[in-house]
Structures are given as C-alpha cells and as structure tokens.
C-alpha cells in the first residue's frame, strides 16, 4: 500500500538548533501512526511542518513532505491553503485556547466549510448541526460561546471543526492531555469511532504509551528532534529496542500496580 503522507529526512532548525533532526515517517491510508515523546521533543513542529505552518523563526534545512504525491513545501500558497483543513484536519492540544473567545463555536465550524467553498450559505446551519451530532454534542451547542463549554465539549467542537470537510488525514496533537481522565477516554473513543467509520488516516501525537496501545498501528518514538525507534505497535510495545522507549512504556499504569513508576 502507498503511504498517503510521507516525511523524508526532514531537518528543521530554530536559532541554529536542530529541533527536527532527520525525521522520516509514513502514514498509510486508514491507519494510525503515533508520534510519542516527552515535551519539547519536536512532535508539534513535525505536525506543523506537514502543513507548512512552522513558526517564522523555524527554517527547513532539508527534507520534504509528500502528501498525496505532491511536495507540500513546493506548492503555491493557495494550493497549500486548499490542503489545510480540506485534505488534512488538525486538532491542537489546548481546547481552552484553540477556539476564538468572541465567536460562536458553530460559526467557527461553519467557517471552515465556507473557507473551502464546499457548501452554500443556506445549507450551512444544518450541516454544522450534523457535524456537532457526529462528535456527540447537542446541535444547540453551536450557538454557544467557547467559555460556556467544558474542556471536553470544546475539544469535541474542535474535532468537529477538523472533520468539517471530511478530510483524508487528521492530525491530533495531544488532544487529551489537557482533559480530565474520564473525559480523555470519551474523546479517544470518539476519535477511534470516527477513524473506523471514515477510514481516516490519523497522525496521533502523544506522550502516553497507553493511548498508543489503544489507537495506533505504527509508532515513532521521538527524542530531542530525532526518531529513536520506529515500528508496528506490537513490535515496539512487546520488544522495545531503545532505552528511552522502554522508559516511556514503563510509565503505562498497569492494573494492580502499587505505585506509579516514573522514568529516571
């Protein structure tokens, strides 16, 4: 099977420091690739490079991102804008800051549809309500402002936004890190069901191997901008080769554990 998204030998520097160091990874249609690593390892920057939305201070030294056979860095600005949100949806870590505080959430979801001209203004409202139902939110939530919603509801709204144009690839950047444990599970279940229903390809960023265990097919373990281990979920979880990977896996709380085990 051909990968839908390929990152080839990507090197990115910020102020001379290699924040992404020779990263290569593949995402296959209908599958979930997880990027795992501790905070500051370069996961978010890797995700942003896929959409060519790295911070201004970051420089792509070499490497390429191939989406659907096209080199993303070489596309025109309007072609890139067509990919963003339409072919590739993205959900950020912080549901509390990812929504505009002075705009109704329904309008923010609708805006994505309008940005890609895939719907007439008249059909917008019902479509937005449908999207809210898809993420198991009451359609009435569309008329709320973000501050009226809980963290879990906001993250669902953000997922509705990312799914608005029925993208082929969804990038989730630690979508549950900021949420309570019980709500984390609900959101993950939602992601999993959407993935299966739409046969979506997901790039899932996390620092938590228990989530990898639940969702991922392939795993890339990242440390200080470098991918230190890569493989199928079974291989990586069963017989991790790298010390760092072992430490991260040791963090998974197991039933019956007397104490939390932390690395180092």
């Amino acid at each position: 099977m051909e990968p839908i998204l390929i990152i080839n030998n990507l090197i990115v520097t910020i102020a001379g420091r290699r924040v992404i160091d020779d990263v290569s990874l593949e995402l296959y249609p209908g599958r979930v690739t997880a990027i795992v690593g501790e905070s500051g390892s370069g996961k978010t920057l890797t995700a942003l490079s896929v959409l060519d939305l790295l911070p201004e201070t970051a420089k792509v030294v070499s490497g390429e991102v191939i989406f659907d056979g096209k080199d993303v860095f070489k596309l025109r600005e309007d072609e890139k804008r067509k990919i963003r949100g339409f072919d590739i949806g993205m959900v950020f870590q912080e549901p509390f800051t990812a929504l505009n505080p002075v705009m109704k959430v329904g309008d923010q979801v609708g805006e994505v549809l309008l940005a890609h001209n895939i719907i007439k203004k008249k059909e917008l409202k019902p479509k937005v309500r449908e999207l809210f139902e898809q993420v198991k939110l009451s359609p009435n939530v569309a008329d709320s402002y973000p501050h009226e919603l809980s963290g879990g509801m906001r993250q669902r709204a953000v997922i509705a936004m990312a799914m608005a144009c029925d993208p082929r690839v969804l990038i989730l950047d630690e979508p549950t890190t900021a949420l309570d444990v019980s709500i984390q599970e609900e959101v993950l279940a939602l992601v999993s069901s959407i993935q299966k229903k739409n046969n979506l390809s997901i790039l899932f960023i996390t620092h938590d191997f228990s989530i990898v265990n639940m969702l991922a097919n392939e795993v890339c373990v990242m440390k200080e901008g470098i991918i230190v281990e890569k493989g199928s979920r079974e291989d990586v979880l069963r017989s991790p080769q790298n010390e760092y990977t072992k430490k991260l896996i040791d963090c998974i709380p197991r039933i019956g554990d007397k104490r939390d085990r932390l690395p180092g």
Binding site: L53, M90, V102, M103, Q108, V158, A162
Partner: protein
C-alpha cells in the same frame, strides 16, 4: 453603534471573569456620558423640532440684536439678531457628525494599516511604521490647518482631513494587539483549517483586538469635536452663515464684555460634549482593561 459596543462588552466581560466592583456593566461614568451624548444626538437628529427659530433668520433692528437670554430667546440673540439657542441646536449636528465621521475614517485607516502591519510583519510592517512616524512628526493641528487652507474650508473637508491625519495612534495600538494575538492558538487553529488571511484578520484577530480600540476611538471623538470647533473658530471650518459651536464663539468674542451668552453657551456645549466622550472612554477603559482591574481590586 452603542448597542454594538455593549454587546462586545458583555461577551468579553464574561470571559474576563467577573469582578464585583465593576460588575455593573454600566459604570457610572459611562452612564453619565451616554446620557449626555444621547441627549445631544437626539437634539441633532430632531434639530428642526427642537429649534425655536430659524437659525439663519436675521433681525437687524436694534432691539432684536444682542438680546440677553429670556423666555423667548433661551440663550439670547447674536449681533445679527439670530436666536443663539436655535443656532446651537443646529451646531450640535455639525459637531457630532464631524466627531463621528472623522473618527470613523481614522478608525478604518488605522485599523486596516495597523492590522496588516501587525499580522504580516516584515517589510510591510516597517513600511507602514515609517509612515506612522512621518505622521507623528507633523504637529497635527497645523497639518490640518495647512491642508484645509489648501482644499478650501467646508464641513466635508474638515471631516476627511481630521480623519486622515489622526489614524497614527490607532494604527500603533492595533498593530501591538495584532502582534500578540497572531501567536494565539485559535489564530493558528484557523490558519491550519485553511481560513484565508483576510478572514483570520477580520473575524478572528480584530474582534479580540477591539477593546482598546473602542476606548481610544471614543476619546478621539471628543478630540475631533474640539479640533472642528477650533477650526471653525479660526474661520477654517464650517463657513458662516451655517452655525457651528466654533463660529458662534468667534462671533461672540467681539462682544464678550457685555454679551456673555454668546461665548458661554457654545463654550459650555463644547466642554460638556468633549467631557462626556472622555468619561465614556475612561469608563470603558476601566471595565475593559484587566490590568487596571487588578490594580483596583
């Protein structure tokens, strides 16, 4: 417009969290200012019904000229026997419309240039900032006087020229807001979803940058009214016989020794109006600025 401000106000206010001291959205100063300005606005709109005489009708007979205030002529009459109250009523139209329209123009120019400057940064930004510095170099009032002398004094020119010479402050303000807002997550989020730059600027960043803009714009309305009065006073503004507060003052200054009403009433009108706008502006600042709130609370 007032409703629009109130609405944004509530949306934003509930985000910032509540503070019992300022919990009443209508803070006293805002309320005072709004009442005065509303009365002024009504007078301006309903001028033909409020005015007791035709503001241009002269009566040159000696007993009709320079009459002191009385029941017939509330604010007395001027040197040409015209009713000062009626002239003031029509002058309200001039003052308020110059104030609002001039600030509206400077708002559009300032917000657009400031927004583009802060959002795109780089060369665009330095270009616009050089322009702002040039604007700051000129003493605004003399610049306005010069341009008006050139273009010819009339009310439209006054509005346009005040508008186009007073946007620099707003531009800087908006730029600073944009610089910090463009790094916020929801802006990244909108961009990631393919929302166009113009929509990101005007639907996402701008509404979140408006609080200090409202404050500054409200204060500027008072400033613009003052400039218009000064220009009219100098004969560079609204031309006689059309009445404006400034040119009523001009006519009155020759008779200031014995016809006090010719200068007192227009002077008071300018003072109260400008003061009201400043009170609304300061009140808005108090409610909208979270830092100020902390200091007080």
């Amino acid at each position: 417009m007032v409703l629009g401000i109130g609405y944004r106000f509530i949306a934003r206010y509930s985000i910032l969290g509540t503070n019992s001291e300022h919990n009443t959205i209508m803070n006293k100063r805002i309320l005072f200012g709004l009442i005065i300005i509303t009365i002024m606005a009504l007078v301006a709109i309903l001028a033909p019904f409020v005015a007791t005489y035709d503001p241009l009708e002269m009566d040159l007979s000696p007993e009709a000229r320079l009459q002191a205030p009385s029941a017939q002529h509330l604010f007395g009459t001027d040197n040409l026997g015209r009713d000062v109250f009626s002239r003031m009523v029509y002058g309200t139209r001039i003052s308020l419309s110059v104030g609002f329209i001039a600030v509206f123009i400077s708002l559009i120019v300032g917000v657009f240039l400031g927004g583009v400057s802060g959002y795109y940064g780089g060369k665009v930004d330095s270009g616009i900032m050089r322009l702002v510095e040039v604007m700051y170099c000129f003493p605004t009032f003399f610049l306005i006087m010069m341009v008006i002398t050139f273009l010819g004094p009339n009310i439209v020119n006054v509005m346009v020229v005040i508008g186009f010479t007073s946007w620099a402050g707003l531009c800087r303000l908006v730029r600073a807001e944009f610089l910090s807002l463009r790094e916020r997550d929801f802006v990244h989020s909108a961009k990631v979803q393919g929302v166009s730059d113009m929509r990101v600027i005007f639907r996402h960043i701008l509404p979140n940058a408006m609080a200090p803009v409202y404050v500054s714009a409200t204060l500027s309305v008072g400033g613009a009214i003052l400039v218009e009065s000064a220009l009219s006073f100098l004969g560079l503004g609204v031309q006689i016989p059309t009445a404006s507060w400034g040119n009523i003052l001009t006519a009155g200054k020759n008779y200031i020794d014995f016809a006090w009403w010719l200068t007192l009433f227009p002077g008071m009108a300018i003072l109260i109006t400008v003061l009201s706008f400043n009170m609304i502006g300061e009140g808005l600042r108090e409610v909208l600025d979270p830092k100020l709130k902390e200091r007080k609370g």
